[in-house]
């Protein structure tokens, strides 16, 4: 296995359920987490809708995969960037999103926030800083 740790950014721009992109992205992230790489997730445009609380899919007969985002911390995915402008354009704020955390093994499993609210300019810098960007 390669010793080089690359910095992977998964860029999520689609709403959940209307298309399969959101779930596919999540599956690829979980599979990719088996390899020791530096993984970040970005939620931009309609992608921010993936993280809303209170998703209930029984009436539409689809799998509700919103609880799976809470497992990301277990998979060592600790950096989830959400774009502020994308939220605002959609009438949302951080309070409308799930609270995602990861546990820091080195600090007696202290719970730490995974979600970081960033501006569009900061998001551009995050994209520039990534070695590889996977788009969904």
């Amino acid at each position: 296995m390669s010793e080089t740790i690359k910095n992977f950014l998964y860029l999520n721009r689609k709403a959940p359920y209307g298309t399969i992109y959101a779930w596919e992205s999540l599956e690829v992230v979980l599979i990719g987490a088996a390899f020791d790489q530096d993984v970040s997730l970005a939620f931009v445009d309609d992608g921010v809708f993936q993280l809303t609380k209170n998703q209930h899919t029984s009436a539409v007969g689809m799998k509700n995969f919103s609880p799976t985002y809470a497992a990301l911390g277990d998979y060592e995915v600790k950096k989830v960037f959400v774009e502020k402008e994308s939220l605002e354009e959609r009438g949302l704020s951080l309070d409308d999103l799930q609270h995602l955390t990861w546990e820091d093994e080195d600090e007696d499993w202290a719970e730490k926030d995974s979600i970081h609210l960033v501006t569009r300019a900061e998001m551009a810098a995050i994209m520039d800083g990534a070695d590889v960007v996977f788009s969904f």
Partner: protein, 110 residues
């Protein structure tokens, strides 16, 4: 091929995973383990029940390394390694324990 548990048929996929996770009952694990010539102990049930709890909460079966870490945290550090899990489930925690627990095959497991 369906498996029969207490006179009731349970649909499975081509790899032997239960078709409908909601149909699961402990007898499913008993029948599946008997087919593998494995006797289920409390330690096996700890893992099977933990997998079901994990799926209930996150809607996915955990990857092996996520499972080993969680088992170490929950049941003691000496159990949080793949040697312990493979000791219980020789065909692998994913292929065997998840199947007994009625879960789908873990994401990314080939």
């Amino acid at each position: 091929m369906p498996i029969e548990v207490n006179g009731k048929a349970f649909e499975t996929d081509e790899e032997g995973y239960l078709a409908n996770i909601n149909e699961w009952e402990p007898g499913v694990a008993e029948v599946m383990s008997k087919e593998d010539d494995l006797e289920l102990t409390d330690e096996h049930w700890d893992i099977i029940n933990y997998l079901r709890e994990y799926y209930e909460e996150y809607q996915i079966a955990p990857a092996v390394r996520v499972l080993t870490k969680a088992v170490g945290k929950k049941f003691g550090k000496d159990k949080g390694n793949s040697k312990y899990l493979y000791g219980l489930f020789p065909y692998g925690p994913a292929k065997q324990a998840c199947r007994y627990a009625g879960l789908p095959k873990p994401t990314g497991c080939v």
